[in-house]
Amino acid sequence: MGSRAVRNAALFLVSMLLVVGFWGHANFYSLGFLPLVLVGGAMTFATLKVIMWASGSMGWGRRSEGTLVFGPEEVKLVQYGAKTSAIRPLRRTRMTAGSVYDARLSVVAERTFARLLITDVYRRRLGALTGDEAAREGSRSMEEFRQRWEASYGPWEPEAVVRVIEFKTLGPSRGE
């Protein structure tokens, strides 16, 4: 709610700036209707594209490319940025750093609770994971991570290749 208000305020500010710009270049009106439409339209378009690019780099205006599912106990950790990675079984689907994903609560279908900016994706063997990686995943120790893994995905196989997805929480999802 708060970020939406900020976005709308910023958009209103930009709109006012555009009007000020046209006021400052009042002699443009003497050009006639068509050139004004063309030049003014091009300037407005360029300004909006710059804003979209700038906001896109912050993940605001970017469309979500998918969802990452989390358990209820992970929601707060993700929202407060204490959990910055997810370790998942290997899938063939492509996930690229820089893309935005919605965090979804597994028990409530369709409900998303945060927007995540993927910062890195790489593979590891389960047995090669370190305590640091477990901590980033939200576990206090490797043992805790192992228990959570076994509860979610079955037996612990050290040779199994997994995908480590590192992310940054951008804020609440659009539906919030």
């Binding site: 002699n27 003497s30 050009l31 006639g32 068509l34 050139p35 063309l38 030049v39 290997l90 063939r92 492509r94 996930m95 690229t96 750093a97 820089g98 910062t119 890195d120 994706v121 790489y122 593979r123 590891r124 063997r125 090669a128 370190t130 040779e159 290749v161 995908r163």
Partner: protein, 430 residues
């Protein structure tokens, strides 16, 4: 609308017309100095054409200025297509490159010759019509042949925007002029903007291009045939040793890795080894692993600049995870024939690929790394000179019409990925 109404805008645009011309010339210098390959040459030619068009507009009193403008309109889509095909590479067949060049350049040459012979007046609508039709055909060709798939997402958008600018400010504007009636010298500015977009895209990958280097001068000793090889699971240490031995023996070498470049150089004892660092980092010298098309360009450049070099590509799983398997297969399919022509050996290494991914790689002609104790043997691929021939500086087996058998029978699977569990190829903790 009368021209008088637009006089202030016209005066402004006229006043600064030299700016886009200087921009075009500056970009030509930048591209020719930085990108010494086909993509760079074709972009320089395109920028040269844009500069020529600007000059015809700035100095209409020059002899033949109107004919130059008409010729520029005809050649514009051809050179744009040539650049995109050179850059994307993708599915173009190297053996047909000469024919492609001929097929692309023949229509504008024929049109320009015919229109000059027919004495068509300057400003006739035939030239922009031809240009527009050619632009349409070029876009259809790029889409149908899958060339666009060899581009990264933002590259495809950049190129499409640049082509739209070129077509919009060129033939579309020329054809629409009698209808709209706004005759303003917008074109050089739009052309310069399109040129800047293409130049920016091209220079971006060049920032990562490194020439493979040998540790010390020597006869070279790349014991691998030309081609792309895949080290089995647990063969990471061996792959690094191959590179270290090669660069010490005088073979130019380079590495692409997720490990920190300094750590890799220290590990194999090769200070100064050119290393491309794969990382999803904002650090400008790190290549994001999803940019597989850039990696493809880098490998192609390495082959062209240092024939006979050895390039180690570690952490292929990192690239596959970020870019997807099929773009990686596309890129390697594109690199393979070039590597064979340049007598370059590319060694891929990863412990974390699945069996299916390894199968797919073998399917596009990636060979398993020959066994360590195998006697040096000749490649089944053309252009390879065996170590004996290369170290003695003698003629290649191909040159003397002689070909030895490949290091292992075709289809023989020496991949040890199912059995080996050595951790030496494991990604290091970074």
């Amino acid at each position: 609308m009368s021209v008088n109404e637009l006089s202030s805008v016209r005066a402004l645009l006229d006043q600064w017309l030299l700016l886009p011309l200087f921009a075009d010339i500056g970009m030509i210098v930048l591209v020719t100095r930085s990108v010494r390959n086909r993509a760079g040459h074709s972009l320089a030619a395109l920028l040269g054409l844009l500069a020529l068009d600007d000059m015809a507009l700035i100095w209409p009193e020059l002899p033949g200025a109107s004919h130059i403008a008409a010729a520029c309109a005809a050649f514009l889509p051809a050179l744009a297509l040539l650049f995109i095909l050179s850059y994307a590479g993708g599915r173009s067949r190297p053996g047909r490159r000469g024919w492609m060049l001929l097929a692309i350049m023949a229509p504008p040459v024929a049109f320009t010759t015919a229109s000059a012979g027919a004495g068509l007046p300057a400003g006739n609508p035939l030239a922009p019509s031809f240009s527009l039709a050619f632009f349409g055909a070029a876009i259809v060709y790029i889409l149908l042949t899958g060339t666009a798939r060899s581009l990264a997402r933002d590259e495809a958008e950049f190129f499409m925007a640049a082509v739209m600018l070129l077509a919009g400010a060129g033939p579309v504007y020329d054809l629409a002029l009698p209808l709209v009636g706004i005759d303003l010298p917008f074109r050089p500015y739009f052309f310069a903007a399109a040129g800047a977009m293409l130049t920016q895209s091209t220079l971006r990958y060049k920032a990562f291009s490194l020439a493979p280097a040998a540790l010390r001068p020597g006869p070279g000793g790349n014991r691998l045939p030309a081609g792309i090889f895949m080290a089995g699971t647990g063969e990471g240490r061996r792959a690094r040793r191959l590179l270290a031995d090669a660069v010490r023996a005088g073979t130019p070498g380079a590495a692409v890795t997720r490990a920190h470049p300094a750590a890799l150089r220290r590990d194999i004892g090769a200070p100064g080894l050119p290393v491309v660092w794969l990382a999803n980092s904002s650090y400008e010298k790190a290549l994001p692993p999803a940019r597989v098309e850039v990696l493809s360009h880098i490998l192609r450049d390495m082959g062209e600049e240092s024939p006979g070099c050895l390039v180690l590509v570690e952490d292929l799983d990192y690239i596959v995870t970020n870019a997807g398997l099929f773009p990686v297969l596309d890129a390697l399919s594109d690199v393979r024939p070039r590597a064979e022509r340049a007598r370059m050996a590319v060694v891929l290494c990863s412990d974390l690929l699945t069996d299916g991914e390894r199968r797919e790689l073998r399917g596009i002609g990636v060979l398993p790394l020959p066994p360590e104790d195998a006697a040096p043997a000749q490649s089944r691929t053309p252009g390879w000179t065996g170590p004996a021939a290369s170290s003695a500086g003698g003629p290649s087996p191909q040159a003397s019409g002689h070909r030895e058998s490949p290091p292992f029978p075709a289809g023989d699977d020496h991949d040890t990925c199912q059995t080996g569990r050595d951790a030496s190829c494991m990604p290091q903790h970074r």
